[in-house]
C-alpha cells in the first residue's frame, strides 16, 4: 500500500515534471464560453480567453489610460470628428499575412455595424487612407473614442479583412479565429476545454509590459480553459494541482483558502460595486434632491458591506466610482458617502417636506448581496424615519419592472469595472432612473466633447460631485471577487484584472 502510494507519487511527479505539462496553463472557468468572436458578445469569459488571440488598436496601461498598441499614434481634426491613426509595421496575423489598413478598416466597420458595443463610438466610417493609415469619421465628437478602441469586451478587435467582411452580422466560426495575438486558436472540445497555442511569429512591441499595454510575450506553450462549473471542484482542483488557475471562488470560501500555503489568492483589482438607483422620472423622489440627500445621509455602507460580504479583505467602503490608482479616481463629492447619520437624515427629510410616504425599494433575491444590502438600508432608513417598503421579486421580473417608472422609487443592482465613465449606466439618460437633469447634460457635453484626457478627468470629477448632490444613484461600495492560482504560477499582475491575461505569465 505504502509502496503503491510511493510509486504513484513518483509517477505523478514525473508527469508534473514532463515539459508538456509544465508548458500548459490549465485555467478552470465557471462555464463553457460562448463564441470567442468578441466583437459580437460581452461575456466576460469570452473576453478573457479571446484577448490572447485578438488584439486592438489601443490597450489600457496599469492606470487604465489607453496607449497605442496595434496603432502607433493618431492625429485628430479640429472638430474632433476625424481621427487618423497610424498602424504599427510588421504585425502578422496567425495565417501568416501582414496586417494592413484594409484589415483594420474592415474590422472597425463590421464592429460599428454589428458589434455589441458598436453603436457607442458613433463611427460613420473607417477607411484605409494608406497602407498603414486608417481614417475614422465620427458622427459627433466622442471623448471616449480611444477607450472604446482599447476595451476588448464587445469591442473592436482586429480580424483579417476577408474574415470580418465574410462574417458580417453572424459570429465568426472557430476555424476562422485569426488574430495577431501571442496565442493562436488551437481547438474547442465542448465540455472539455478550449485550447490556445503559442504563436511563434508574434510581433512583440519592444517595451516593458504596463497593464495590458507594452510587450506581450507567450511563455506557455499552450493555454487550456477548462469549464468547471462547481466552485468547490475549482478550488480543490487548484489545491490538488489539477489546475493552475481558477476563477470566481465564492466569498464564503475565502476563509478556507487565505491561509492555505497550497494556493495563491488573487483578489480582483477590478472591483464590482453595488448601486441603488433612484427614480428621477416619477414618484416622491423625482426632483426632490434634499430627500435623496436625506436617504444618502442615513446610510452606513460599512454595515451593509459587512453583512453582505463579510470578509474585510473583500470589500471597501469607497465613494469614488473608480478605484485608487485609476486615472478616473476622484474624491469629489464623496464626503457625503456613508455618513450613517440618522439625525442629519431626519433634519434633511424634514427640510424636504417628507410626509412618511412609503418609498418602494425594488430588489431581487437572485443576488444575495443585493438583498442583504437592501435589508440593511431599509433598517437604517427606518431609524431615520424614512419609510421604505421592500418589493422583492426575482431578477428577471426586476429587469422588466424597473422599466416602468410607476412601479418603483429605488432599485438595487450592481456594476462591473469599466475603463471609462461613459460606460457607467447612470451616465445613460435612458437607463432606468432616467437621470437627465440640465446640470448633468451640461457636464456630460463637456465630458464627451473632447478627447483631451485632462479636461475629461476634470469634467468627470464635477460629474461625480453632481452625483453626490442630486443623488440619481447611491454607490454602495467596492466588492472584490477573487481567483486562486497554484503557488508556482507567476503572473505579471498582482490583483486579478477584470479579464485575467497570461502573456508574461509562467510557472
Amino acid at each position: 500500500m505504502k509502496f503503491g502510494q510511493l510509486l504513484g507519487g513518483v509517477a505523478f511527479a514525473a508527469l508534473m515534471a514532463s515539459p508538456v505539462t509544465a508548458q500548459t496553463l490549465r485555467y478552470a472557468t465557471v462555464s463553457e464560453p460562448p463564441s470567442l468572436d468578441i466583437q459580437m458578445g460581452t461575456a466576460t469569459l469570452a473576453s478573457t480567453i479571446a484577448q490572447h488571440m485578438f488584439e486592438m488598436l489601443y490597450a489600457f496601461d496599469a492606470a487604465a489610460v489607453p496607449q497605442p498598441f496595434l496603432a502607433t499614434g493618431e492625429t485628430i481634426s479640429e472638430d474632433e470628428k476625424t481621427i487618423t491613426i497610424a498602424l504599427r509595421d510588421g504585425v502578422v496575423f496567425h495565417d501568416g499575412d501582414a496586417m494592413t489598413a484594409e484589415d483594420v478598416a474592415a474590422s472597425l466597420n463590421r464592429w460599428a455595424e454589428f458589434g455589441s458595443r458598436g453603436k457607442l463610438l458613433g463611427l460613420e466610417k473607417a477607411e484605409a487612407t494608406g497602407p498603414l493609415e486608417v481614417t475614422l469619421t465620427l458622427t459627433a465628437p466622442n471623448g471616449a473614442w480611444k477607450s472604446m478602441l482599447a476595451y476588448p469586451n464587445g469591442g473592436p478587435v482586429i480580424y483579417p479583412a476577408d474574415v470580418a467582411t465574410a462574417a458580417g452580422g453572424d459570429t465568426i466560426a472557430p476555424e476562422d479565429y485569426i488574430g495577431t495575438g501571442p496565442y493562436r486558436f488551437g481547438e474547442i472540445r465542448p465540455n472539455r476545454y478550449v485550447e490556445l497555442v503559442r504563436f511563434d511569429d508574434y510581433a512583440k512591441i519592444d517595451a516593458p509590459l504596463d497593464g495590458e499595454a507594452g510587450g506581450r510575450e507567450a511563455l506557455f506553450e499552450k493555454l487550456q480553459f477548462i469549464p468547471v462549473p462547481d466552485v468547490g471542484t475549482r478550488m480543490s482542483g487548484v489545491q490538488a494541482g489539477d489546475y493552475d488557475y481558477a476563477e470566481y471562488i465564492s466569498g464564503d470560501l475565502y476563509g478556507t483558502v487565505k491561509d492555505d500555503p497550497g494556493v495563491q489568492v488573487k483578489i480582483s483589482a477590478a472591483p464590482i460595486f453595488g448601486l441603488m438607483f433612484m427614480n428621477s422620472d416619477t414618484g416622491p423622489l423625482k426632483d426632490n434632491y434634499v430627500l435623496r440627500q436625506a436617504i444618502l445621509a442615513s446610510l452606513d455602507m460599512e454595515q451593509a458591506l459587512q453583512v453582505s460580504v463579510g470578509e474585510p479583505e473583500l470589500f471597501k467602503a469607497d465613494g469614488s466610482f473608480f478605484p485608487e490608482g485609476n486615472v478616473w479616481h476622484s474624491t469629489s463629492g464623496t464626503e457625503a458617502y456613508s455618513e450613517g447619520d440618522a439625525e442629519k437624515a431626519k433634519a434633511l427629510a424634514a427640510e424636504a417636506g417628507y410626509d412618511g410616504t412609503p418609498i418602494k425599494l425594488l430588489v431581487s433575491t437572485n443576488y444575495k448581496e443585493h438583498f442583504d444590502q437592501a435589508t440593511v438600508f431599509t433598517r437604517q432608513l427606518a431609524d431615520a424615519g424614512i419609510n421604505v417598503q421592500m418589493v422583492v421579486v426575482d431578477w428577471a421580473t426586476l429587469l422588466t419592472l424597473r422599466g416602468q417608472p410607476a412601479e418603483w422609487d429605488m432599485f438595487v443592482t450592481h456594476h462591473g469595472a469599466i475603463p471609462d465613465p461613459v460606460l457607467l449606466t447612470v451616465m445613460n439618460d435612458s437607463y432606468p432612473g432616467w437621470w437627465a437633469s440640465e446640470e448633468k447634460q451640461a457636464l456630460a457635453a463637456k465630458f464627451t466633447g473632447t478627447s483631451d484626457l485632462e479636461t475629461r478627468t476634470g469634467a468627470w470629477g464635477e460629474l461625480q460631485a453632481l452625483i453626490y448632490e442630486q443623488v440619481p444613484v447611491v454607490k454602495v461600495g467596492n466588492v472584490y471577487s477573487f481567483d486562486i492560482a497554484s503557488p508556482a504560477l507567476s503572473t505579471p499582475w498582482d490583483g486579478a484584472p477584470a479579464f485575467p491575461h497570461f502573456w508574461g505569465a509562467s510557472k
Partner: protein, 283 residues
C-alpha cells in the same frame, strides 16, 4: 363537565407520543400569539457587530449574518407556520369540498370536474406550485394559494369518494326517494358524516403545508425573504453551514417537530374514525 374533559383527554394520554405532539402544537400556537412578549428582541433588529454569534448569553440560539437574534426569529416564525397551515387547509377545504360533493351529486358535472382534477394531478406538484408563484409573484398569500392548489386535488378526490359512498347509503336513498331536496341531503346527511375524514385530511394537509412552504422558502419563492419564516431562516443561513451550523438547527427542528406532531395527531384521529372511510384518507 370534568368527565367530558376526561373523555376527550383520556385517549390522548393513552398515546404518550401523541400527547407530546399535541402539547408541542399548543406551544406553537401560544408562541405565535404571544410572540412580541416572548421574543427578547425585535425579529428584524440588525446588529452587524454581533453577527454569527454562537448560542449563549443574551442570544439563546445565537445570531444570524445580520446579527439578528435567532430565538426571536424562531418565535415569530411560528406565526407564519400557523398562517400558512390554516390558510392552506382553509383553501383546500373551501375548494375541495364543493368540488367533491357536487361531482358526487351530479355525475355529468362530476365527470368534467374530476377530469380537471386529473389534469391538475398530472402536473408534478412542486413544479406546479413553483410556476404559480412565479406567475402570481412572491408573497405569503400566493404561497398559500400555490400549496393549497396541490391539496385541492387530493381533498376533492377524498370528498368525492366519501360522498359517493354516502349517497348510496340506504338512509340517504330513502330520504331522497321521500322527496328530500339536494340541499337537505347535503346538509343533513353528507356533510355531518364527512367531518371526521375531513379532520384527518386537514391535519395531514396542515403538516405537508409546512414542508411545502419550507421547500418554497428554500428555493427563494415562498414568503418574501424579509419575513421571518423557518424556511427563510434555513435558506439564508445555508452558506454559513460550516461556520455557524446552529443557524440551521433551530428552524429545521421547528419544522420537523411541527410536521411530526401534526402527523401524530392526524394518525390518532384516523384511528378513531369510521372504518368505512379509513382507507380513503391515505397520504
Amino acid at each position: 363537565m370534568i368527565r367530558q374533559l376526561h373523555a376527550l383527554v383520556g385517549p390522548v394520554l393513552a398515546r404518550p407520543l401523541t400527547a407530546l405532539g399535541a402539547a408541542f402544537l399548543m406551544l406553537i400556537v401560544l408562541g405565535a400569539v404571544f410572540a412580541p412578549l416572548i421574543a427578547p428582541f425585535p425579529p428584524d433588529a440588525i446588529d452587524p457587530v454581533n453577527r454569527l454569534l454562537p448560542p449563549g448569553g443574551a442570544h439563546l440560539m445565537g445570531t444570524d449574518h445580520f446579527g439578528r437574534d435567532t430565538f426571536s426569529r424562531v418565535v415569530y416564525g411560528a406565526r407564519l407556520a400557523l398562517l400558512i397551515g390554516v390558510g392552506v387547509v382553509a383553501f383546500a377545504l373551501a375548494s375541495g369540498v364543493p368540488i367533491g360533493v357536487l361531482s358526487a351529486l351530479y355525475p355529468r358535472l362530476g365527470r368534467v370536474l374530476m377530469r380537471m382534477v386529473d389534469v391538475l394531478m398530472s402536473f408534478p406538484s412542486l413544479l406546479l406550485a413553483l410556476g404559480l408563484i412565479v406567475i402570481l409573484g412572491q408573497g405569503v398569500f400566493n404561497a398559500i394559494l400555490a400549496i393549497g392548489l396541490i391539496y385541492l386535488t387530493t381533498t376533492a378526490r377524498i370528498v368525492y369518494g366519501v360522498a359517493l359512498r354516502l349517497r348510496a347509503e340506504p338512509y340517504v336513498e330513502a330520504a331522497r326517494s321521500m322527496g328530500a331536496g339536494t340541499w337537505w341531503v347535503v346538509t343533513r346527511h353528507i356533510l355531518p358524516n364527512m367531518i371526521s375524514p375531513l379532520m384527518v385530511q386537514a391535519s395531514f394537509v396542515f403538516a405537508f403545508a409546512q414542508l411545502g412552504a419550507a421547500a418554497l422558502d428554500f428555493l427563494g419563492l415562498g414568503a418574501p425573504p424579509d419575513v421571518p419564516s423557518w424556511g427563510n431562516m434555513l435558506a439564508e443561513s445555508r452558506i454559513y453551514i460550516t461556520r455557524a451550523s446552529w443557524l440551521l438547527l433551530w428552524p429545521g427542528l421547528m419544522i420537523v417537530l411541527t410536521a411530526f406532531s401534526l402527523n401524530l395527531v392526524g394518525d390518532w384521529l384516523r384511528d378513531r374514525m369510521d372504518p368505512r372511510f379509513r382507507d380513503m384518507v391515505r397520504k
